[in-house]
Amino acid sequence: MSIWSYANPVKFLALSARVQPVLWGAAGGCVCLGLIWGFFGTPDDARQGSTVKIIYLHVPAALMAINAWFMMLVASLIWLIRRHHVSALAAKAAAPVGVVMTVIALVTGAIWGQPMWGTWWAWDPRLTSFLILFLFYLGYIALWEAVEDPDTAADLTSVLCLVGSVFAILSRYAVNFWNQGLHQGTSVPVATGGRTVADVFWYPLLISMVGFGLLFIAMVFYRTGTEISLRRAAALRARSDGKA
């Protein structure tokens, strides 16, 4: 059976109902384990003191904020090319989760900035491009809300997501050009191969990142189901009204 068969909304509903418990369980477990281990079970950093503990929230949230947008981009493309409703609704469902992740990254970063840099906020490129990402999320959600016809809304938001992605990358370079920053470089080893975080910090961080990822997936599954239910209820109602 092809994976596209789950592009049928009703089938997807059934599938999501089946995987829900596993997903939520795993997500909850990982998040709790990572955060508790991080908070209670790791030593303080020599330079940063206890504030390193913020990393277990800050980095996973920041990662998920970016990945959520990326997932929306892929889902938008699928909608534009293959016109699977589930895909469009998944993009819609992911956006609010992405915003919350963005806000968590911003807030924990701000709180961390106070002791480390002596300021809540600085116009550092990394922070600034995150703020721009936040604006893109807001615009995307506002557009979904504003367009009445759901299919048109899906079309328009998909194109916005595409164009927005291009401009988000452009902004990233522009911002880098505009200001050299305070924020430290990346140390998650995906890009660079080696990592700069000591093992004591690394394992809980890894678990926490996995947890945030799972939480995101669980949430998107569930919320997509919600959107499908709403559409399906509206469709059924409309049919029976039409008959009346």
Partner: protein, 218 residues
């Protein structure tokens, strides 16, 4: 296409048509800045290039919602879509008309308003050049935003929300060039980047705008 350009310009010149209003808005923002940040000359001349760029951007933004919404409301857009003109061309022409009625006057007025904020001597040249290179991108990107929000009742502010993040790269390079120019630094790198953005936008955005408009109209 010539007909469309002519009509748009003529409409802009008629009563309530908006020609010169972007200019007036620009002027007023520049006038209000000293009221809000205080009258110190040094401070003003430091922030002057930035304020002028920001003012230009906001003035542009504010005039976007009449770019397509009026034509939508009175049914002109429906008829244009069925006309023999390719929609991409029609939208490019409308963007051009928007630039001629808002961007161009702002470019010409910037040196005069710069006086009021004490832009340092050599800065005028770079200010004008950067605005001249950057404002076309603002119009073209704005057309895309207008096309996105066209079916939505009075999308005004939504339009701003969608368009502003898209304006960020243009603003950064434009303002950077103007600021460096005013400070007597080398400003050709940001200027080149700005020109690149404008060219790319002018070349690609009309297709996105037309696609989005077709989706929105149905």
């Amino acid at each position: 296409m010539k007909a469309l350009l002519q009509r748009d310009l003529r409409l802009a010149l008629r009563a309530g048509g908006g020609f010169g209003l972007a200019l007036a808005f620009f002027l007023i923002v520049v006038v209000l800045v000293p009221f809000s940040v205080g009258p110190e000359t040094d401070l003003l001349s430091t922030i002057a290039p930035g304020v002028l760029w920001l003012g230009a951007l906001l003035a542009c933004l504010l005039s976007l919602d009449r770019l397509l919404a009026l034509d939508f409301e009175d049914g002109t857009l429906d008829l244009l879509v069925t006309a023999p003109l390719p929609l991409e061309a029609a939208l490019s022409v409308k963007a051009l008309a928007h630039w001629v009625t808002t961007g161009l006057p702002l470019v010409l007025a910037a040196p005069v308003l710069g006086l009021m904020l004490n832009v340092p001597g050599g800065g005028y040249f770079w200010l004008v050049i950067s605005l001249a290179l950057g404002t076309p991108a603002l119009s073209v990107i704005g057309t895309f935003g207008a096309a996105l929000t066209v079916g939505i009742k009075r999308g005004g502010l939504l339009l701003s929300l969608l368009v502003l993040p898209l304006y960020v790269p243009t603003l950064i390079f434009g303002a950077e060039a103007a600021r460096r120019g005013a400070a007597g630094l080398e400003a050709s790198t940001p200027l080149l980047l700005l020109a690149g953005i404008t060219l790319a936008c002018v070349a690609c955005m009309p297709f996105a705008s037309a696609a989005v408009l077709r989706m929105g109209l149905k």
